[in-house]
């Protein structure tokens, strides 16, 4: 199996696993895999990765795109493909001996598996599925995905499900928590499935690097990519039976800091949706315009052709009021607008320019 095929299979497996169906999610997944590669994690099978020692000079050189020498061949990472040149450079004699033993071992393994296939072992497909990555030199195979995922539990599946929470400088990737027989037993950072209006999140207390303070902004990133800001309004200890803290009709967040102790209370952080921080301006941007009159300013009138109630300089940001129908009068289209400082009135629409997207 070629390196390219292995990578493609591994990539497809990750796509299936992450349900990354949109181009945006595939791009995000690609970036994540690139980061993993820089941490020395490389695919060696459809669902297996190997951990390279990133502190090794050779590995560092390959990751940096520099040429490295292995025995008589020089390898260079160039955009994901390796080229081999007949050049001897670099490694010490011990390393060369190790590589030679490794190569010999690989040939022995190939011979062994070849004989098994010829003399009636399992069929080849089954044998491929059972094949383990070859331990050679500094490459250490890891358990399937144990070393690459940041959370063992399933992530949320809907666009509105939280994917991560940012507390201060730390982001926690959230697994999906479920209630089983009335019990929720998170082992790491989890979002309790189904909690959409008041989102319920549990984080191991020991994982919190710095204490949360009142008015801190906590951000939840949904699987859709939308970032939701919350402002901390309460930090308190509650009895573990006080489950009413988990429910509210106000858009809010509760973070439970849990630990292994069997104490009867838990520290909880309650945060409300920070409307002022929420980026809905982008959604309504198409309704916002800039004043661009022919003489540097335009009149704001009480009604079309009515009394002048103000003057708007070019460049002023205004919002056309969607709930007031434009008026055609005197050959002009008049629209009712509102400025960012609250002034309202009528202007000629010709003197407004749509904000650049």
């Amino acid at each position: 199996m070629t390196t390219k095929t292995t990578f493609e299979e591994y990539f497809n497996f990750r796509i299936d696993r992450a349900q990354a169906l949109t181009p945006g999610k595939k791009l995000a997944l690609t970036k994540q895999m690139l980061e993993e590669a820089h941490q020395g994690r490389v695919p060696v099978g459809r669902d297996q990765v190997a951990q390279l020692p990133v502190e090794s000079r050779s590995v560092k050189a390959v990751l940096a795109g520099e040429p490295v020498s292995i025995g008589k061949a020089r390898m260079q990472a160039t955009g994901g493909t390796a080229t081999m040149l007949d050049t001897v450079q670099g490694l010490s004699g011990g390393a060369r001996l190790g590589i030679a033993i490794g190569v010999l071992f690989v040939f022995l393994l190939i011979g062994f598996f070849g004989l098994r296939m010829v003399f009636g072992g399992k069929d080849s497909d089954q044998a491929n599925e059972d094949a383990q990555p070859t331990p050679a030199m500094s490459v250490t195979p890891t358990a399937p995905f144990g070393g690459v995922v940041l959370n063992d539990t399933d992530p949320g599946k809907q666009e509105s499900d939280p994917a991560s929470i940012q507390i201060g400088e730390t982001s926690f990737v959230l697994g999906r928590g479920e209630v089983d027989d009335g019990v929720w037993e998170p082992t790491q950072a989890e979002w309790l499935e189904g909690t959409q209006v008041r989102r319920v999140i549990a984080i191991p207390a020991k994982m919190l690097e710095s204490p949360i303070k009142l008015e801190d902004i906590l951000r939840i990133r949904l699987r859709s990519g939308v970032s939701i800001p919350y402002s901390v309004v309460d930090i308190t200890a509650v009895q573990r039976t006080q489950i009413e803290v988990l429910s509210s009709l106000e858009p809010s967040l509760v973070v439970i800091l849990f630990d292994d102790t069997a104490t009867s209370s838990r520290q909880v952080v309650i945060a409300k949706l920070a409307l002022s921080e929420m980026d809905i301006a982008e959604e309504s941007e198409q309704n916002t315009y800039l004043v661009s009159g022919p003489v540097g300013e335009i009149n704001l009138r009480e009604r079309p052709y009515g009394a002048v109630v103000g003057v708007l300089k070019n460049g002023t940001s205004v919002e056309i009021q969607i709930d007031v129908e434009p008026v055609n009068d005197g050959g002009y289209k008049w629209v009712r607008i509102k400025t960012s400082y609250g002034a309202e009135g009528w202007v000629v629409s010709t003197y407004l320019t749509e904000l650049p997207k």
Binding site: S160, G182, R240, T241, L246, L249, P251, I322
Partner: protein, 130 residues
């Protein structure tokens, strides 16, 4: 002669009555037809499972975005509902989104009213905190 004059009066009076009910009345009816399109939005957690928004089920203080054509407007949910008034004579379709919940829906006004409902199932909660 007198009969002729009387007949003329009757005919004129009949014509006046006819004009009053056939021309003047339709004008006033037409004026009444230009009323706003109303977009009613409901968002609630169906705690009792009756598929209807009952008291104390309405979602609060959540921004709602209404989009009509290339224009949009933001309002905030109060007690699970919000109403947008649109004076446009022709509104083919409206779109409503709740960015906080990453959900949205579209509706075509009928008889000047468009209703959009967002119903959420209540989550299953544990009997004690983890």
């Amino acid at each position: 002669m007198k009969r002729m004059k009387r007949m003329k009066r009757i005919i004129l009076l009949s014509l006046l009555i006819f004009l009053t009910f056939t021309i003047i009345t339709p004008i006033s009816v037409q004026a009444q037809q230009e009323e706003a399109v109303r977009v009613e939005v409901f968002a609630f957690v169906d705690r009792n499972g009756d598929k209807l928004m009952s008291q104390s089920e309405g979602i609060e203080n959540t921004p709602i975005i209404l989009t009509v054509g290339d224009r949009s407007q933001v309002k905030i949910l109060k007690e699970g509902r919000v109403t947008f008034s649109l004076p446009y004579a022709e509104v083919e379709e409206v779109r409503v989104e709740i960015p906080y919940l990453a959900i949205g829906d579209e509706s075509k006004p009928r008889n000047g009213v468009a209703q959009i409902k967002f119903r959420l199932d209540p989550p299953e909660l544990p009997v004690y905190l983890p």
